[in-house]
């Protein structure tokens, strides 16, 4: 039965990363320990256990349009407790990468936050928290979003934990060479 399902859902254009994701989850026996260990499960549309079944069944569109993997906080509880020893948290990260690469999550807050984060790291080498949030707000194009963070921002400014710095928008970035090489190496593989 399982062989019949995988034969039916296997499509020739499946990318290597999708195949490796399925390979990681192949041994999942649907015990649900992951769901029972997940602090965010209640807010997910599909629980972690359901997500792994969907991976086994090859339901890619349903997975990529679900909220499930964007609610993972990387606490590694499911990975620790999985009786099969499967790399569940890392597989969630692989799903996030694949979803972003296919444009499913381009407008997601998480994706835009990660991109803003890496732009800041590339430019300065280290994260400037205030600039990171500014870049994130600009990327989200939502004038109300910053309001939710303003009270905290004011407190942090008062405590001198963050400081407004003038962003440098042009010129070479501290980690440009390494970022470029990584892009090149990833394009080759």
């Amino acid at each position: 039965m399982i062989a019949a399902i995988s034969a039916h859902t296997k499509e020739p254009e499946e990318s290597p990363s999708w195949e490796s994701i399925r390979e990681h989850i192949r041994a999942c026996m649907q015990c649900g320990t992951c769901t029972g260990s997940c602090g965010s499960a209640a807010a997910m549309d599909f629980t972690p256990r359901q997500l792994w079944r969907m991976v086994q069944l090859g339901l890619r569109d349903e997975i990529f349009t679900s909220r499930t993997f964007s609610l993972c906080s990387s606490c590694y509880y499911c990975t620790l407790r999985c009786p099969r020893g499967l790399p569940l948290t890392e597989t969630i990260h692989a799903l996030k990468r694949l979803a972003a690469a296919r444009g499913f999550t381009a407008k997601e807050k998480g994706t835009r936050f990660y991109r803003s984060f890496l732009k800041t790291a590339r430019r300065y080498g280290r994260i400037r928290e205030m600039e990171l949030m500014t870049r994130y707000f600009l990327a989200m194009k939502d004038p109300f979003l910053p309001l939710g963070f303003t009270p905290l921002g004011v407190k942090l400014l008062r405590k001198r934990k963050i400081s407004p710095q003038i962003p440098r928008l042009s010129g070479p970035g501290k980690l440009d060479a390494i970022f470029r090489k990584v892009e090149e190496l990833e394009a080759d593989s």
Binding site: G39, A43, L80, I127, I178
Partner: protein
């Protein structure tokens, strides 16, 4: 004892009191820290969600710099996310064939190379196993008697790496807290997730998780943490969590080196106590600061 030191970006910003108190506490304990020169961001949890290779190259750059300073020195890392990222590279190069070559291909762009000789360790690991409670007890000048402390570990200092404590029911902070003269608040929330980065992207979910931890800490005078993200979430969103939980959840959230530092005789200024957002009057009175 001497170590290499990787503070990470948060410790230069929102977790500045963790940076200052870690260095002051270590100096008071006679431990030398040498900051890795020209260190850069480890990629946090952002790189892993964008590029698998980048999430390994960014930590590897720092490991290469550390190796150049001291090829056999342990690296002390106070931030749990940084610790996880740096440690992961050390583990994965022994498991994944060809990974080290790939990392070096990228690091070569900056004239760096990495051989894999470093050992990244969380600050808590070093405090618990190298320094030890006995040493802290012996050096304690101002016992924190009558103070009840809830030890909060969070996730990434314990899982998936760690190896110095039980990843579900951690206890390594208990003897350290007791060595300061304080007592441990008994609870089961020490290794539960605070919501981490979801506080920025899915606030309603993270506030729920944070609220459950704060509620369980009722009865303690303060929570101590060993992670900038955990401290930020528990310290800065108490008002919002209180609204959701329908009760007052105000409690001070200190970094472990702040607590230990005070017991060692450091002043409130030396451990930057004024930088913590939620510092309750009752804690101030008990600490006499």
């Amino acid at each position: 004892m001497n170590y290499l030191y990787y503070p990470g970006c948060s410790l230069e910003g929102t977790a500045t009191e963790y940076h200052v108190s870690t260095q002051a506490m270590m100096a008071a304990l006679g431990v030398e820290l040498r900051e890795i020169e020209d260190w850069t961001c480890c990629g946090a949890s952002a790189a892993e969600s964008v590029s698998g290779l980048l999430s390994r190259v960014l930590p590897a750059r720092n490991l290469a710099l550390a190796e150049r300073m001291d090829s056999r020195g342990d690296i002390v890392i106070p931030c749990s996310a940084c610790y996880l990222n740096l440690r992961r590279v050390e583990v994965e190069i022994t498991q994944e064939e060809g990974l080290l070559d790939k990392l070096n291909a990228a690091l070569g762009e900056e004239g760096l190379s990495y051989r894999g000789s470093t050992k990244s360790r969380h600050l808590l690991d070093v405090l618990a196993r190298d320094v030890g409670a006995q040493q802290i007890g012996q050096r304690t000048q101002r016992p924190l008697e009558g103070l009840r402390v809830a030890p909060y570990y969070g996730c990434q200092c314990l899982r998936p790496y760690g190896g110095y404590d039980d990843p579900q029911q951690p206890r390594s902070m208990d003897p350290l807290i007791e060595a300061t003269g304080a007592e441990v608040h008994p609870w089961t929330m020490g290794a539960k997730c605070c919501g981490a980065g979801l506080m920025t992207t899915k606030k309603e979910v993270a506030v729920e998780l944070t609220g459950a931890i704060l509620r369980a800490a009722r009865g303690a005078d303060c929570i101590v943490t060993v992670c900038p993200m955990c401290q930020m979430n528990l310290d800065s969103y108490q008002g919002q969590a209180a609204k959701v939980q329908g009760q007052d959840l105000g409690i001070s959230v200190l970094y472990l080196p702040q607590l230990v530092g005070l017991a060692l005789g450091l002043t409130a200024e030396e451990v930057r106590l004024k930088s913590n957002l939620a510092l309750t009057d009752s804690l101030r009175q008990k600490l006499a600061v």
